[in-house]
């Protein structure tokens, strides 16, 4: 990423104390006031409360048992919790599959829409359809389509002689992850495509013209011009897609409910807090989820910094 406006070199020696730098700092912070206010209200208080609760034995319907401080006990239990560990593995598998597919598919769609290809207008409209349908409804539609008796997917596959009898895509543990990935990819590729498209649109056309004149073919143009200039957009997209995938809830909930072998981290947190009523333990799970996802963020950031140099 290119750097921001810097003061002239001669002033750099006394950067911190120049009037210009102080002015920059002041304006910078003033502009941030609205955002920080939002963060303070809707984020810091709830997050702080959750962290605090993770050190207590709070219950949803406390009744007569008082809430008391239990220190690290929730975390100790969490460390030995095999269900949680399994849910982490499930979530990471899901994330790896969906983010990679969505990225490739989204890039293809973005390139197509950005080019002078004949059907790009239609492609632009088509790309929005999966997105406009609310997630819970889309999940239910897919669940119906993948059903082993009434599912149109099985019907079509049998008509095309690809399978001989209907398969229970969602019920069978071997294909359950694939089926939920197919739905999520369908639903969120537009998000990726749109972000990448925005990034593509700011690449000036002259660069391509010059390259074309110099004899570069389409593939070379892609690798030498498009990809490097698109890198910031790609990284932001990947970061947010990964974060969302690690917190996935809706699709899994509609497809599997409380099925034990297909729980993601968020489903496990939900079932602990709301279903079992263990608010304190659930808060500990949430903090653990936060730390795990932060790990991914750190990896991405390090990767960004390293490749920038």
């Amino acid at each position: 990423m290119s750097s921001v406006a810097q003061p002239a070199p001669s002033r750099r020696r006394r950067r911190r104390h120049t009037k210009l730098q102080r002015r920059q700092t002041r304006i910078g912070w003033v502009l941030l006031i609205p955002s920080l206010a939002v963060v303070a209200f809707v984020a810091i208080y709830p997050l702080g409360k959750t962290v605090y609760q993770s050190f207590t034995n709070a219950e949803f319907l406390a009744g007569i048992t008082p809430t008391k401080w239990v220190g690290l006990e929730n975390y100790r239990t969490l460390w030995h919790d095999t269900v949680f560990r399994h849910s982490v593995v499930e979530t990471i598998k899901f994330t790896a599959i969906t983010v990679s597919f969505e990225f490739v598919l989204g890039l293809i769609i973005a390139l197509v829409v950005n080019s002078h290809f004949r059907g790009r207008g239609v492609m632009r409209a088509v790309m929005l359809v999966p997105w406009a349908i609310p997630t819970v409804v889309a999940a239910k539609i897919w669940q119906w389509m993948l059903d082993d008796t009434y599912g149109v997917v099985n019907d079509l596959l049998m008509k095309a002689h690809i399978i001989s009898h209907p398969h229970a895509w969602v019920a069978d543990p071997a294909t359950s992850l694939a089926s939920v990935c197919a739905v999520d990819i369908w639903k969120t590729t537009p998000f990726v495509a749109l972000l990448l498209l925005a990034g593509l649109q700011v690449i000036p056309n002259d660069l391509y013209e010059a390259a074309g004149v110099d004899g570069a073919n389409a593939l070379q143009q892609f690798w030498r011009i498009t990809f490097p200039l698109l890198r910031p957009a790609i990284l932001v997209t990947l970061v947010f897609r990964t974060l969302d995938a690690l917190r996935v809830f809706d699709v899994f909930y509609v497809f599997f409910g409380q099925r034990p072998d297909t729980q993601t981290m968020a489903i496990y947190a939900q079932s602990t807090i709301v279903g079992d009523g263990h608010v304190g333990y659930g808060a500990a799970i949430s903090v653990a989820i936060f730390l795990i996802i932060s790990l991914f963020v750190v990896i991405y950031v390090t990767f960004m910094r390293v490749t920038e140099e």
Binding site: V4, A5, W29, G119, L195, V236, R247, D250
Partner: protein
């Protein structure tokens, strides 16, 4: 930019390889396009098939919905489901509520987010990165974890069962990526863009409004669209903070349809009709917006 004459002189005359000649020939080009077109058709089918399924189910009478063998297009299509959905008072209200909530959240996110992006992208001061990661950390907690605390806060602000509760809480997930995406757009603009404007005596806000905002227009459209759709699709907070049916948003309204025989019966026909009703205007609206913006964008984005 090289002139035509210079170009003609400097272009090396290299022998073209045979594969390249083939690829450039008519037949080659046509053949190369086939896998490309297959891919495009596959993407179309993948994207549109569930919508076709929703459409056919919306016009299929109840007793044919689950008929085996599968009915691909009903023999007696019916408008009954659409009628039921449109005459249910709270669904039309829900469309309005969702539009209000999503629209307000988008507006707020864009205003607050672009100001923040201006600060984080064009100014240098200590604590920039910390703020960006603070924003990011807002989206890392699972929604369910902060639900309880948010519920308490909403009750204390007397926002329970009001759309304001949703507008406020949706900022938790729309603001971070708005800030991040717009910041990356701001950073990508040339370093001394504002110098000329400062020399002319413009204030920072004027620079922001007149110079920078138009240049990051694709970013604004994109994050606006993403924020709108995220707010539109959100389910958990809408279910937890809203009680009266006339305040429902679309996802809650659709999932609250029950069949005539009670909660055990899921009214597929109505839900599919509602889905179609919700999807079509959104597509048309985005089509209109997209064409307008994309046409004017490439002009503004380029020359720096």
């Amino acid at each position: 930019m090289s002139t035509a004459a210079e170009t003609a002189r400097t272009t090396a005359v290299r022998p073209i390889s045979r594969s390249r000649r083939f690829r450039r020939s008519r037949l080659g080009r046509a053949l190369l396009k086939i896998p490309f077109w297959i891919l495009i058709v596959a993407i179309f089918v993948y994207a549109l098939f569930p919508f076709y399924w929703a459409l056919r189910s919306a016009i299929t009478p109840d007793n044919e919905l689950f008929a085996t063998p599968i009915v691909y297009w009903p023999s007696n299509p019916t408008w009954q489901h659409f009628h039921d959905v449109l005459t249910s008072s709270f669904f039309l209200h829900a469309l309005l509520n969702s539009t209000i909530v999503a629209g307000s959240v988008t507006l707020l996110s864009l205003v607050i987010g672009s100001l923040a992006a201006y600060s984080l992208g064009r100014f240098r001061f200590r604590g920039r990165s910390a703020v960006m990661y603070l924003m990011l950390s807002m989206t890392i907690f699972p929604q369910i974890a902060i639900l309880g605390a948010l519920y308490t806060m909403i009750s204390n602000f007397h926002l329970y069962d009001k759309l304001g509760a949703l507008i406020l809480t949706y900022l938790i997930f729309t603001l971070p990526f708005t800030v991040w995406v717009l910041t990356s757009f701001m950073r990508a603009l040339p370093a001394d863009l504002e110098e000329a404007a400062y020399v002319d005596g413009a204030t920072p806000l004027q620079v922001f409004y007149k110079v920078l905002l138009p240049l990051i227009a694709p970013g604004l459209v994109t994050t606006g669209l993403l924020a709108f759709i995220s707010a539109w699709n959100e389910y958990l907070f809408a279910l937890s903070f809203i009680q009266t049916p006339s305040h429902y948003t679309v996802p809650v309204a659709i999932t609250s349809f029950v069949g005539p025989s009670g909660a055990f019966q899921f009214p597929w026909g109505e839900v599919m009709a509602a889905t179609v009703i919700v999807t079509l205007p959104l597509i048309i609206a985005t089509l209109v917006l997209q064409r307008r913006i994309l046409a004017g964008l490439t002009a503004g984005a380029v020359k720096g």
